[in-house]
Amino acid sequence: MKGVRRKQVILASLIFLTFILIPLSIWLGYYKASIPEVLRVLFMPDNSPLSTVVWDLRLRRVLAAIVVGAVLGGAGAAVQAIVRNPLASPFTFGLSFAASLGVAVALLILHGGVLQRYQIYVYNPFVVSMCAFAFSLIQVLVVLLLAYKTRLSAGSLVLSAIATSFAYQAVLYLLQYLCLNEVLVSTVVFWTFGDLGRISWEELRLVAATSALLVIPYFIYRSMDYDLIVGGDELAKSSGVSPERLRVETTVIAALGTALATSFVGVIGFVCLLAPHAARLLVGGGHRYLMPTSMVMGSLILLLSDTLGRTIISPTVIPVGIMTSLLGVPLLVYLLIRGGRFGYRD
């Protein structure tokens, strides 16, 4: 069918574009090298500076951008479907506040007496990440529990998400104002700034494994169910799909993927809004193509942002979170104006 062919072409083109961007990103950077040199070092890594730059400083970021971008894009599309709102994202559940709170707690409670000193003795960066992750999960569970009390409909999920994020935000600010001195506050702030360079190879492996084995396959598998639930809970039930179960599973898995990535690279906003929106305009709302397109779009946006942030005012680095906002805001405004109604009919 003609329409399907068009969608396939678009998806393939986006994937192709990403594949082109990968070697470009690996080649671009302050440390100048020719393409053959870069290729040699890619296939035969050694101990030379170029090899370290290409592998540890560039390739790792590129892979992180692709994985995290795909997770954010997919989670964005999934969450938007289950709450029937194109402005929703995993961060609507207050994940970024919860993660920040986790960092604040890690700094405060786990390293209690150290508060008095100027230096922040973080004994183990992994601990901070795991705290952020744990708090994000707690946040999601609280949201779900609250929504469960009110029938787990789309509306109740959104409301409980908003309520609990405000609560987390309030606690976070209270903590910052009362207990943390300026040094700790900036640590929390600094940490929440997304930075793809922060992730280590082990952490990247963890995120990639979780995404490839759980998060991404789940979203793809449930594509048709997302189409269903957009039409209404009754519609879904009449086709044998439990809307409550879909919501719970999606929320947990989206939160898991997003929280895991966020705990290692910090908060990167906009991608989970931008990617599904752009994808929807390109391939329509059918999740069979929307989901993978949203994921590829997420990878593309993140990769582009990170590469631009690294190269535009080299050697100063603009954090990727700022780049996504800079790119994202005008793009989002353009998309909103140009149209693509989600089609509310209530």
């Binding site: 440390y31 540890d56 100027y118 230096q119 183990n124 040094v183 702030v189 600094f190 080299s314 680095v317």
Partner: protein, 381 residues
């Protein structure tokens, strides 16, 4: 009551608006001068905002609020005049603020006059409670609290001081601030003593490093700025290096002077000969090194062990004494033949002695590591 009619509602609203307007007008707008009750003294100083401040005849009760203000009071040996301190001065650990390490116990015994810390506005009621003659206010507070208003509210002379942006060594600014404060606190001789010392140091460092055959490439990493920073954060120009007429590799890339976040690749590409790390953020760097040693080992300086630690000096405004001490240490490392006669630790204590009357190097070294080579920390097991 059945409810207001339209006319009643409008009338009440009008009365409310007029009442609020009267209240605002009576509070007065800035510029309206108000007679103070203190007897006019003969001394007038111009503060850093250009305000002409008339000092009271006797200045015996002093409060200093905002970053760096209490430090200057301590430098000028005027701590006996203090009648109150900000809570942060007593609550935050003393380590890292040179004046607190010298006089911290004194602070603990004084009443609290406000929260203290960047972004926290002064508390007029608390300040008023200690009945100061003069309030020394940092310029950073003026952004969100008008000094003239504070002056009226606490019924004391408020003088606004600053000695350059936090983290920098603005020699002229420092000297001006000391001069003005010296007049205010009746410590003119002491102020002059400090100014002379600072100018001597400036001249000494400049002369030693003027005719140097070749300057090594230097990078200063993890420079403190609003909290912990990673290795890729640096400052351009780095003030102690500037005193030594030496650029850092960041200088040619920083579009404007300030705190800069460098691309690690750029550091690798530049291959600095010597690297200094702000010991305030040493842990952050060490952690990153443990997680990701490869990229650090691509730096020749790390492989050859030419990595050294400097004492952090940016904490609630620049610790001038520490910054000067750092300059001597860095000079010794970079130009050993020009600094043959200098032992950095002894020199540091000399500086501390002049500024604060106490040798503080040992305490600093215990807290942060002190002037030393850090190569042992950055070895891969």
């Amino acid at each position: 009551m059945r409810g207001l009619t339209k006319v009643q509602a409008v009338a009440i609203a009008a009365v409310a608006v007029i009442a609020v307007a009267i209240a605002c007008l009576s509070l007065g707008y800035p510029g309206q001068s108000q007679q103070k009750q203190t007897p006019a003294g003969p001394i007038v100083v111009t503060d850093v905002l250009g305000r002409n401040v008339t000092l009271p005849s006797k200045v015996e009760r002093v409060v200093a609020i905002g970053g760096g203000m209490l430090r200057l009071v301590c430098y000028l040996n005027a701590t006996s005049l203090l009648v109150g301190v900000e809570e942060s001065e007593a609550r935050w650990g003393f380590t890292g603020r040179d004046y607190a390490m010298a006089y911290g116990e004194l602070f603990k015994g004084l009443p609290v006059v406000g929260p203290g810390g960047p972004g926290k506005p002064p508390a007029p009621e608390l300040i008023m409670a200690v009945k100061p003659d003069v309030v020394i206010m940092s310029r950073t507070y003026c952004e969100f609290y008008d000094p003239d208003r504070l002056q009226r509210e606490v019924n004391a002379t408020v003088i606004v001081i600053d000695y350059g942006p936090a983290g920098w060594l603005d020699i002229e600014g420092i000297c001006n601030a000391l001069t003005v404060l010296g007049k205010v606190l009746n410590r003119q001789e002491r102020a002059q003593q400090l100014i002379d010392f600072i100018k001597n140091v400036h001249r000494d460092l400049s002369e030693r490093t003027r005719d140097v055959a070749s300057r090594p490439k230097v990078y200063v990493g993890a420079v403190a700025y609003k909290g912990p920073q990673p290795f890729t954060s640096t400052q351009s120009p780095f003030p102690p290096l500037a005193l030594l007429n030496t650029p850092s590799i960041a200088d040619k890339y920083a579009k404007a002077s300030g705190f800069v976040s460098m691309d690690f690749e750029a550091i690798i590409a530049e291959q600095p000969d010597v690297i200094f790390i702000d010991e305030g953020n040493l842990r952050t760097v060490k952690m990153d090194f443990d997680k990701d040693p490869n990229k650090y080992l691509q730096l020749r300086a790390f492989r050859e062990g030419r990595v050294y630690g400097t004492l952090p000096y940016n904490y609630y405004h620049t610790n001038i004494a520490v910054a000067l001490a750092d300059a001597y240490y860095i000079g010794k490392v970079l130009y050993p033949d020009k600094f043959k006669d200098v032992d950095p630790e002894t020199k540091a204590d000399e500086v501390f002695q002049v500024f604060l009357g106490k040798p503080l190097y040992r305490a600093y070294a215990e807290a942060y590591g002190g002037f030393k080579c850090l190569s042992e920390l950055f070895k891969v097991p």
